[in-house]
Amino acid sequence: MKKYLKSFLLVLFALGYFVAAQAQDGAANANTDVMRSNGKIYVVMAVVVTIVTGLFLYVYSIDKKISKLENK
């Protein structure tokens, strides 16, 4: 149950972020928005950070499962 909750929260967070970004679309000036400055390189940064974080969460969860088995 707990793991579903975690993925659900993650998806929710991602969706919220996406919606917030969409909402900003109209309001923000293209030049002042960090995510759109510098040839949108920060978008790539966000992607890489997401991958690294996701990767670590995954490895962390495997580690926890194996630890649980070892303690049995």
Partner: protein, 221 residues
């Protein structure tokens, strides 16, 4: 809770730092073609550094197995070889992406590309060899001997031959010193991201390897 967690946090923090600061740090503009793709130094090159370290650990345990014949040493050797090979393939594919935009094609038969591919094939053969034997003692022993051969083949294929001829990679014929270890070749700002990246990726590789080892140990019980 997970076991001995502090260095796992170090791995995460270092890679988190790398993937943020790697995009912000000021990089020198070398020519009009390289531009910001030099930032691949923080992602592509650490794959190979980490691979060398992981494969060294693997051969260390292979040699240890031959002395002790304890199956645990073989688990270690196999797991580190697997993670190291994975890093090698990640290095090859990230290199191909970079090469496509820097050298015009993903594979241009550069001596270092060819050498890396040969080295990877040698390591794939290690797993084929393991899979071809059912007797556990025999498998571990022969795999350990082959592992030592495979590790030492990394030196001609990755470190020596590509540097004797002209190469698109740094360090080919006509350049001086070893671009892998010679710190002066890299801008100080870049070094402040590059070395944390190497340590971070290596620690992540060690983490994944230990997971594989613990899984094997549980299975063997």
């Amino acid at each position: 809770m997970i076991r001995k967690a502090w260095w796992k946090w170090v791995a995460f923090l270092l890679l988190f730092y790398t993937s943020i600061y790697g995009f912000i740090v000021k990089v020198p503009k070398l020519d009009d073609r390289l531009e910001h793709s030099i930032r691949n130094m923080f992602f592509h090159v650490p794959m190979w550094f980490a691979m060398m370290i992981l494969l060294f650990v693997s051969v260390w345990y292979a040699a240890k197995y031959l002395r002790t014949t304890s199956p645990i040493d073989d688990f270690y050797s196999k797991a580190f070889a697997a993670t190291g090979t994975l890093y090698g393939f990640l290095g090859l594919s990230t290199g191909a992406i970079w090469a496509n935009y820097q050298w015009g094609s993903p594979w241009s038969g550069d001596p270092k590309q060819n050498g890396a591919a040969i080295a990877m094939l040698i390591y794939l053969a290690y797993f084929v060899l393991r899979g071809s034997m059912t007797d556990e003692d025999k498998r571990s022993r022969i795999a350990s001997v082959y592992n030592i051969f495979a590790f030492f083949m990394l030196f001609p294929t990755l470190w020596i031959l590509p540097r004797l001829t002209e190469s698109l990679h740094p360090g080919g014929q006509g350049s001086e010193g070893n671009p892998g270890i010679n710190g002066k070749d890299m801008d100080a700002n870049m070094r402040s991201v590059f070395y944390p990246a190497v340590i971070g990726w290596t620690l992540l590789g060690v983490w994944v390897s230990t997971l594989k080892i613990r899984y094997e140990l549980l299975k063997a019980k």
